[in-house]
């Protein structure tokens, strides 16, 4: 038994972190927030060079064949940098939708192109098989992957759908409404139990968004800790006041177990089918709640500076809000966990 990241996992995270430190500076983040759509071709190319798009694609289709835990590790780093790039939808959910629901021929057509970074999917869920709202990663998609009410997924060329992009509260990640004609879609209907396959994909997305929140919350915590160690008032660094110190003790006591929880939920997606659904739903819900608390307390610890645009801390605050609201709020996820356990 070993509940820890492997050498390879740590070194992949380090490479991704180094790349993002270089590319996602606060100035680049501001520029993207002003004018961007959640997709930056230059950043994307460097992520392709690193192999990020092929992370979950099986090796026979040109990817690395890794699991949801590895995607969660990457998401933590992306969240920590507030990276403006498609990931949870386009690279995790879409890839898994093909793995769990597509025919061999459909996989052969799309998975190698996902791994090569040639296609990008906006991902959403449709209630009526013609429209979908709050589609993620759809600022500049080549395709849409929309789950239909029967649990099968429709793959639509972006040119064949109408797309209406909304800039969201998180200016680095838009949400998109779409109307599409299912007659012009490729339907991924190879799963024996389509609803189960769809839930599996949604759950993987939830774990990855929770991991993104973990990274963003850790970033805000680290920034706040550094701030209170150097900000002087009353002739003392404010981090020497017990009221401040105790807030940090509260934050770290909430946040640190979240990392183990995210790892566990990722591992459960890959290796513990009996626990996979419950841990994904609970992890999404818990990180939503802890993320909000950390975002609020870390901003507060910065005093007035935290409220200004000068430090840019609000980008992470809003990223955490976005993650909380998409793919089920904490209350929604917990209610689904209740149904899963036969409690309602």
């Amino acid at each position: 038994m070993e509940f820890a990241l492997s050498e390879e996992q740590r070194s992949f995270a380090d490479s991704l972190r180094d790349l993002l430190t270089d590319r996602v500076t606060i100035d680049a983040l501001r520029r993207h927030a002003e004018t961007g759509n959640g997709f930056d071709p230059t950043l994307w190319d460097s992520l392709v060079d690193l192999g990020l798009p092929g992370l979950l694609v099986p090796e026979r289709f040109g990817g690395s064949g890794l699991g949801v835990l590895d995607a969660a590790i990457a998401a933590e780093v992306l969240g920590s940098a507030a990276a403006f790039t498609p990931f949870a939808g386009s690279l995790v959910m879409a890839t898994l939708a093909f793995i769990h629901g597509a025919t061999e021929a459909q996989q052969d057509e799309f998975l190698p192109r996902i791994a090569a970074g040639e296609v990008r999917f906006g991902v959403g869920v449709s209630q009526d098989a013609h429209n979908a709202t709050a589609v993620i990663d759809a600022g500049a998609p080549t395709h849409l992957l929309i789950y239909l009410p029967d649990g099968n997924a429709a793959v639509i060329d972006a040119d064949h759908a109408s797309l209406r992009m909304h800039r969201s509260i998180d200016r680095t990640r838009p949400v998109t409404d779409t109307a599409f004609d299912p007659e012009r879609a490729t339907i991924l209907n190879a799963a024996n139990a389509p609803i189960v396959a769809m839930q599996r994909v949604l759950d993987a997305g939830r774990v990855v968004l929770a991991a993104d929140t973990l990274g963003a919350a850790q970033h805000m915590f680290d920034a706040a800790l550094a701030f209170v160690k150097q900000r002087i008032q009353f002739n003392r660094v404010i981090g020497s006041f017990q009221a401040v110190k105790h807030q940090f003790a509260d934050m770290v006591t909430m946040l640190e177990p979240c990392r183990a929880m995210v790892w566990y939920a990722g591992y459960a997606q890959d290796a513990l089918p009996d626990e996979a659904r419950l841990t994904a739903l609970q992890t999404k819900a818990h990180l939503g709640d802890v993320g909000r608390d950390i975002a609020r307390m870390a901003t507060e610890a910065h005093g007035g500076m935290g409220f200004t645009d000068l430090l840019g801390l609000h980008y992470w605050f809003k990223r955490i809000s976005f993650n909380r609201q998409i793919l089920g709020s904490p209350e929604h996820c917990r209610e689904e966990a209740a149904r899963l356990q036969g409690w309602t």
């Binding site: 509940f3 660094v237 020497s240 017990q242 640190e256 409690w343």
Partner: protein
């Protein structure tokens, strides 16, 4: 990342399961009062020691099994006992605190004299640390030990002394070097509770029970060679001990068991259909999942010999708060039906409502004892996060 057990640990798991099948019926009941362990409990304790489930890593010459430390082995054993609802052995302060301390800093003579008897349940210890005027600021303690001939003569008062009313021995902190700075003037003594001049008075707590005592010392003579490590070294020795106490509290198995009991309670009271109760239960389930995963992470780091730092320091604070919130939901679920409170006394089992109430009340004590949660937050922020220490106020 791999949660499967190695062949070695699976073999141990099979062995423990076989032990539980063969001997499980001899186990005393879980919980049940704060009294001197009875014959059945002591027999069971010896069986556990003889099978290597207690004192597993303690050297053979001191009564243990002398096996190399392996936290995963301990976790496998603990998990099997918990799953079977079997008593995993005494968890008194002698076993959990004094024994590890003596093994770390005691003389060979002290280890030979005390370790085996203590782990087998033949000698019960109590801890003489806190005083009425020295709680969180333990190092300010004022119970005096004055060397006269070859004895320390002890005068003063201790408080919060669990099990002092039936203990055979006490490990005691007292001030033997009054002229030295406060941390350097303390010594750690071992003394018999039968020594003349000791007066033990029960201290009733908010649970309605007397979990603690006050202990008064009047010219109590302790042989000078019953000191651990030497004069003025008591603070260092006590910190070795406290390290062992803090890691004890807040374990994940207890959380899991309590959550399961809570789910059963809400089901049987038909409260899962009420959104507010259901959502509170689900929130706590999420936190217990996080807590268990965190525990697995700490376990792995301990097995790898990694110092977990702040990840370990949050355990006592986070664990006692989570435990209290679990008990709080149970109290709320019981509602008016949970108000009748009939503690059957220290030797008997209580009804469910009373048991939840006692857990609920006792958890408040756990937040205070062994380093209160405000002190824990100082430790987390100062030692764990390197925030500046409180400025020292000059003593009056």
């Amino acid at each position: 990342m791999d949660l499967t057990l190695s062949d070695h640990h699976r073999a141990l798991q099979d062995e423990v399961r076989a032990f539980v099948r063969t001997h499980g019926h001899k186990s005393p009941k879980l919980g049940g009062g704060r009294k001197r362990p009875d014959q059945k409990t002591r027999d069971w304790q010896k069986l556990l020691v003889d099978h290597g489930y207690v004192g597993r890593t303690i050297p053979r010459e001191y009564g243990g099994s002398g096996l190399p430390p392996d936290v995963l082995e301990s976790a496998v054993i603990a998990a099997e006992f918990a799953a079977a609802g079997i008593y995993a052995g005494l968890t008194n302060q002698g076993i959990s605190m004094l024994v590890p301390t003596l093994l770390e800093v005691g003389t060979d003579q002290q280890k030979k004299q005390w370790v085996e008897k203590t782990i087998r349940g033949d000698v019960i210890w109590c801890q003489g640390y806190s005083e009425p005027g020295s709680g969180s600021d333990l190092a300010s303690l004022s119970t005096r030990g004055v060397l006269e001939d070859d004895h320390f003569v002890v005068n003063g008062q201790k408080i919060w002394t669990s099990s002092a009313h039936y203990a055979d021995m006490m490990f005691l902190l007292c001030r033997t070097e009054p002229d030295k700075p406060k941390h350097e003037g303390i010594s750690y003594l071992l003394l018999s509770m039968q020594t003349p001049g000791i007066d033990v008075r029960p201290l009733r707590t908010m649970t309605g029970r007397a979990e603690f005592n006050e202990v008064f010392f009047t010219d109590v003579r302790v042989p000078a060679d019953q000191i651990v490590l030497g004069r003025g070294k008591g603070w260092y020795v006590a910190n070795v001990t406290l390290k062992h106490e803090r890691s004890m509290i807040g374990n994940a198995e207890k959380m899991t068991t309590r959550l399961e009991q809570l789910i059963t309670l809400l089901k049987s009271n038909n409260l899962l259909g009420t959104t507010e109760y259901r959502d509170r239960l689900l929130r706590l389930q999420g936190e217990v999942i996080a807590w268990k995963a965190h525990n697995l992470r700490l376990l792995t780091e301990a097995a790898q010999g990694v110092d977990s730092g702040v990840k370990r320091m949050i355990i006592k604070y986070g664990g006692t708060m989570l435990g209290f919130r679990l008990a709080s939901l149970a109290i709320d679920a019981l509602g008016a039906a949970g108000l009748p409170f009939e503690s059957a006394g220290e030797d008997a089992e209580d009804d469910d409502a009373t048991t939840w109430n006692i857990d609920y009340l006792y958890d408040v004590g756990l937040m205070i004892g062994g380093g209160s949660n405000n002190i824990q937050k100082n430790i987390i922020s100062e030692r764990g996060l390197n925030l500046p220490r409180e400025p020292k106020v000059a003593s009056a």
